[in-house]
Symmetry: D2
Subunit: 283 residues, 4 copies
């Protein structure tokens, strides 16, 4: 099963052209969605099909059929390579390690990097390499170097920040803004920054949440991938929101992974607001 | 804006054929979804487009292009005609009357029929005809006759049972099983039949719900259109579930209407399990 | 059924003292909750009981039993008097008018005041007085005067802002910050101010919401009473969030009313963050 | 922190008597709830307090103060001992093992017993004993014997069925019906028995769910502890509900554990329908 993603300015002959390409290649279409964003006038399409073809080949072979300026991408069905960044909180990491071990997602954790050493032993127990770059993991320069070295070796499709509390440098982020995914334990854009569960509790919200989003230079402001919510029990202490916050995070992450690790599914599932802001499929 | 619905056994040239028809007619496609149900091998498509055409014309004009056996339907963008059946509970009816009065849906309530007289005055206050067929509204034969007369006059696209507690005769239901919509105050298939809120309370469920579904001869078993849920407060008395049940019903109905009254949107929004059971678009 | 509310600095003999008062009066307790907020060291209690007594009497008769400085209030079981402020949007108002007409809440709408005339006719149709103070309803001075006159005549327990788009003056608000309730079509504190549904759509959130809260001078920042959420369909246009926003608002308001109009239930249901900020029960 | 649970037929002097006991012992009450179930006329109370006392002592020392026939229990703040039963599905087990390893709950997994050997290695990796009683784990007699032996050694406070597909014998269940907790991947009472996710998909429900409940002889009918729901994506294949079913199960279990492992919290959080059916606190 492959996934074809198409994005370009809308024109009336697009649907026919793409249908022809798929038919000529003999692909069986299983599912397809398309829509035009009226504000931007852009056309988006996502098609699942039985068959395999390289993006470049597809474009090359259909020069006469596909209009100029069409961004076409065929998403690979290979398991995604993942690198996870952590601090001291284990609960998102644990969920990822478990999925990794039992093989319940189409991804493989290549490495975990921490800016603390606390989780090193647990990660090792799962047979996944852990590094920090320093005795404590907390010296910025050594940690950053370790991060870079690890990145080169792991060559991840995605970097997941699993309760990673350090802010990444603009250089690191800017290299590929659609590759780094953060899980933030609040219903963004509410409660940006540190200690969102405590912020939410102080604010007296009746529903708490978690958000998985791409990381950009604007703190906790990147394109939202998925959000989950959970009611707050008002009679509980400040501990309780933190606790239920962890559960909702874990839940959000469980959902996020399914989206996140199939980049090809973003088109249909994450949709317009994300795609129009981020030229995901033309990258 | 029109909506094209297509259903048939899957074949590889379908997408191309339909794309060609839309292109040849000069229609601008705004949004389109299609999928193949692997179990039944059937193909489903729903396409919104700027333009207008009659179903029969479309089929006639494209005899050479569309494969044989394709069920094609172009849904009319006209406001739907609605008939509402009620007993004594007002809360779903009230919501429908309000939407009717303020014109916030693409539908018009042509008539309300009750098997009690209780709601007659309120209905009249909104300028909508009310009938029951008897002094009390409760004599079965007179009521059934009234229902039939009203049906002929109102010529509704849809009949909505808004807390209507009488069971319709098989003859009445079988005439058009995709035309009668019931709202049931439970999370079906749980708590079929009478007093579902009380059943739910006795059962000790932690979440209550409501379901909008098409009416068939099997009580509360017709194809589900939409479901809503709401947490139950366990410290409340039996009254409370009933009360919150009303709210969730009203909410479900609000949602249901948006689906229900745009039959053309069923394809995308209600989807597979419904469509494969019910040949909605070939009717 | 009456409700006793108690708030004060925690002390070890409070529970015993209050139990004694209730026992001595011969009241049957149906339900009771209490908790101590550890941060502020304050004690909160809410007790439903069969019986009736005046707050002042209760305090007077139990001077020796209740500790000094205890704020005691017995909430009246009488229906609450409501004044509703509107602009041009009908959907929250409609829901209130329907409940008013069918008597499904313990409240009575005494008056509706609009800063537009649009909804006047509909309000009249329900037999509720409508005023605006000017030919258009939009001249600030005349409207404010009308508001004030209406307030004096209606003598409401609560003022509900049902999609009222004008910002009330600090003087108006400060008179009784626990009396004015606003319904805001977003998941506060996200998307404060005008056009929250559009803001949410632009931001790309995956879940939309609505919040009922008390009005203070800080725009959309008053204590939160209740919040509701609803998933966003990402393939829809900007209209869709607005539409589903209306439904979620209506739903939130339906929930809010049940809380809002039984001030006595705030203690248990709205809880700590609200109570510690707002000396509701000692007012 | 201890928790006092009280249940008995309602009488007017109960609240005063219990308040006196707590005051005389010098306990600081942190939170307390009580209510009377009007149908059964029974009184329920749950009180969290700073202090420690043995149930038997408390009753003995307050013979004159507490009315006859009052069931009193002080829940121990010790971590609960857990035994987990599994088949071949890992996802609930994995979540429990992770919590166990990272110490994020007040419980300790003493043993895992499987009727298949598949999960043995993974369990061992977490340093938890695994047994099945036979080479394959699937021979009923050997497995049952292993279960019994394990039960005697582990002496668990609770037995959690984490996707355990075998039906326990009535003898096993009847020994302590408030000790065995099952997680069922549907919104009970809908979709009892095998393959509930598939049943749900065939039925066309729009929302899926999971339920944690006590095990009784009636299959999937025991008192409900907690329920979680999740919307269904109608365009997905039958695999998708199964997948999202797993997530919702895991989420439900995460929630269930918090309730389940603090038996003392059942009173407030699980409430009436459970308590009136099951004399939990008088056992």
């Amino acid at each position: 099963m492959s996934v074809l993603l198409v994005e370009c300015l809308d024109r009336r002959d697009l649907m026919l052209a793409i249908s022809r390409v798929l038919f000529d290649h003999g692909f069986n279409v299983v599912q397809s969605q398309e829509f035009v964003d009226r504000e931007s006038g852009r056309f988006f399409r996502r098609t699942e099909f039985d068959g395999a073809v390289d993006s470049a080949c597809l474009v090359e072979q259909n020069k006469g059929v596909l209009p100029e300026g069409v961004a076409v991408r065929v998403a690979s069905p290979l398991p995604k390579r993942i690198m996870v960044l952590v601090s001291r909180e284990h609960h998102c990491l644990a969920d990822l390690l478990i999925r990794n071990q039992f093989g319940t997602w189409k991804a493989r954790i290549e490495a975990v990097v921490g800016n603390h050493l606390d989780l090193g032993e647990s990660v090792g127990q799962f047979g996944v390499p852990f590094s920090s770059g320093s005795a404590t993991g907390r010296e910025p320069v050594a940690h950053e170097a370790s991060l870079q070295a690890c990145l080169e070796e792991a060559a991840p499709d995605f970097i997941v920040l699993a309760n990673y509390l350090r802010i990444l440098s603009p250089e690191f982020v800017s290299r590929d803004p659609s590759r780094i995914i953060n899980i933030h334990p609040s219903f963004l854009p509410a409660f940006v920054g540190a200690r969102p569960s405590q912020q939410a509790f102080q604010h007296g919200v009746k529903v708490t949440g978690a958000t998985a989003h791409f990381v950009t230079d604007a703190l906790d402001q990147g394109p939202i991938l998925v959000q989950q919510v959970l009611p707050v029990d008002p009679t509980r202490s400040a501990e309780a929101p933190a606790r239920s916050g962890r559960d909702v995070e874990q839940f959000a992450l469980a959902q996020a992974r399914q989206l996140v690790l199939k980049i090809e599914s973003f088109f249909a599932e994450i949709g317009r607001s994300f795609l129009t802001d981020h030229p995901l499929i033309s990258r």
